[in-house]
């Protein structure tokens, strides 16, 4: 059963106040995770572009978070902490995926033999080109793009989520956008 603290139903927003007076336990953990489960799942799905893998990523993040939950000193930081765990897990999955990346032979052949097919719907072609460009980015940059343009996080918030300096966020974002811009321009030709 979700959404209860010490056996009592908890109103959204009241969790933090109650966490200060109760020992962090299973119910508190469930409530905190459940509170951002939708956002976490959506973020993971956007980063990974795979709903099944996103479910696994969120579940794994929950397991990792539960293991470290007792050591979390400031429950107010739970959301950022959990997001960091989730994003790191997604990044690792992207890395693993990059190592076992296979070429979609069917699509490559179709594009090569029937280039006019892609012109039928220009908008779709542009979207496909952009999607491929995102896939070709480094895992860290893919995560960063998702956090910036889907989660709408600011540069400081992204830096906090990824535990990297703001300058690094800016430079990686700049690099990623440069490649995406190039991909978009090529798709327009």
């Amino acid at each position: 059963m979700l959404g209860s603290l010490v056996g009592r139903p908890v109103e959204r927003g009241a969790a933090r106040a109650q966490l200060r007076v109760v020992t962090p336990g299973a119910d508190a953990f469930r409530h905190l995770v459940e509170r951002q489960l939708d956002a976490s799942y959506r973020l993971a799905a956007v980063i990974l572009d795979d709903r099944v893998e996103a479910e696994d990523a969120v579940h794994d993040a929950a397991v990792a978070a539960w293991r470290g939950f007792a050591a979390l000193r400031d429950p107010d930081r739970f959301d950022a902490w959990f997001r960091r765990i989730l994003v790191n897990g997604c990044r690792d999955r992207l890395r693993a995926r990059a190592r076992r990346r296979v070429v979609d032979v069917g699509r490559e052949l179709a594009d090569a033999e029937h280039p006019r097919v892609a012109d039928v719907a220009e908008a779709t072609a542009v979207r496909d080109a952009l999607a491929r460009a995102i896939d070709s980015l480094a895992p860290e940059e893919q995560v960063l793009v998702a956090l910036r343009f889907h989660a709408d996080l600011t540069v400081p918030a992204i830096a906090d989520a990824l535990a990297i300096p703001e300058g690094t966020v800016k430079s990686r974002l700049h690099h990623a956008m440069g490649r995406l811009r190039t991909a978009l321009a090529e798709a327009d030709r």
């Binding site: 059963m1 979700l2 336990g25 299973a26 119910d27 953990f29 469930r30 995770v33 459940e34 489960l37 939708d38 976490s40 799942y41 959506r42 799905a45 956007v46 572009d49 709903r51 996103a54 479910e55 969120v58 579940h59 929950a62 397991v63 539960w66 293991r67 939950f69 990044r91 690792d92 999955r93 890395r95 693993a96 542009v126 979207r127 952009l130 999607a131 995102i134 793009v145 998702a146 343009f149 889907h150 956008m177 995406l180 811009r181 978009l184 321009a185």
Partner: protein, 331 residues
């Protein structure tokens, strides 16, 4: 279209693309899975996971113990006196002395333990580390460690070469004879049953790496239990620091570990006692039909780069002990 327009369009396309990936609220199945996470146990682990972590921890502890057991003797080993080092305390040669310089055969060579420890540690890291850079780093460490360990083993085996023994014989209670057919001089033990006899030999480090002589291997399986064989008793170091040979009647010292640089050598004396069946001083080499026994194969124990090695002592002479045809000790 201006650059700003391009950027705005790119951002719009990006948001649209990422928005298309957005699946909406989390499905019920995921909620159930996440809801069960804290119920696994108090530590957030299943019983199988706890058992796995306990095994991993135990193996890690074992690996650490193995590494410490290997590393401590390598690091803490005191330097031995080399040929140019401080002189050994010289004492009167005591042919009845037992023990010094005789070492048991190496049981499990250190590099085997090192490689084993590396494998265990790297395997543990690979098992515990999640996929990603830490796992890749562990794999790299595993490969690099094995490569370095393998290279070191090859280096110490192949490049160091055997410790050669040649020339220089001094005798006590043994009788040299004419050259034998293979060029090795037969040397007959003339000590009475139970009496000591000794002979000297030189050991040269012919490899490119410094070595430490640890003694002569006394393998109970080889040297004990055969009543008509002589018994290996002790190893002495010749007292001359200038490369000369003083012999057992001159200055000598009980053996201690000796460091030898490439090309350096030292002279050693092995002390034995004749077997209860030895023919003794009455033996006549020519025309005598007394049976002869040789001494078992001798190996010098040494270490190179901290790894234990042995090499056969290739004596330029053949020690032969005549023994009585009718030996009371065999009855």
């Amino acid at each position: 279209m201006s650059e700003r327009d391009d950027d705005l369009r790119l951002e719009r396309e990006l948001r649209g693309l990422l928005g298309d990936r957005d699946p909406g609220p989390a499905p019920y199945g995921l909620r159930e899975r996440v809801d069960r996470v804290p119920g696994r146990d108090a530590a957030g682990e299943s019983v199988a996971e706890r058992a796995r972590r306990a095994i991993v921890a135990a193996l890690g502890l074992a690996a650490a113990v193995v590494l410490v057991l290997v590393a401590v003797p390598l690091v803490a080993k005191p330097p031995g006196p080399g040929p140019g080092g401080p002189p050994m305390p010289v004492v009167t040669f005591d042919p009845t002395l037992h023990g010094p310089g005789l070492v048991p055969p190496p049981a499990l060579e250190a590099e085997v333990l090192v490689v084993l420890g590396l494998l265990i540690v790297a395997g543990l890291v690979l098992a515990v580390a999640p996929s990603g850079p830490r796992r890749a780093l562990a794999a790299f460490v595993l490969v690099a460690g094995l490569a370095v360990g393998g290279a070191q083993i090859l280096l110490t085996h192949a490049a160091a070469g055997p410790v050669a023994s040649s020339g220089g014989i001094g005798v006590r209670n043994v009788e040299p004879s004419d050259p034998a057919r293979d060029g090795r001089y037969p040397v007959y033990v003339t000590a009475a049953p139970g009496d000591p006899f000794s002979f000297g030999f030189s050991v040269r480090n012919e490899g490119p790496l410094p070595i430490r002589l640890e003694g002569v291997v006394r393998d109970p399986a080889v040297h004990d239990g055969v009543v008509d064989y002589p018994t290996l008793r002790a190893l002495w170091r010749d007292g001359s620091s200038q490369g000369g040979v003083t012999g057992p009647t001159g200055p000598v010292a009980p053996f201690g570990p000796i460091d030898l640089g490439p090309g350096e050598f030292t002279v050693l004396w092995l002390v034995w006692t004749a077997s209860p069946c030895a023919a003794g001083p009455s033996f006549e080499p020519i025309g005598d039909e007394t049976a002869l026994v040789g001494i078992p194969e001798l190996r010098v124990a040494y270490s190179v780069l901290g790894f234990a090695r042995t090499a056969v002592i290739d004596l330029p002479f053949e020690i032969l002990q005549p023994y009585q045809a009718t030996c009371p000790a065999l009855d």
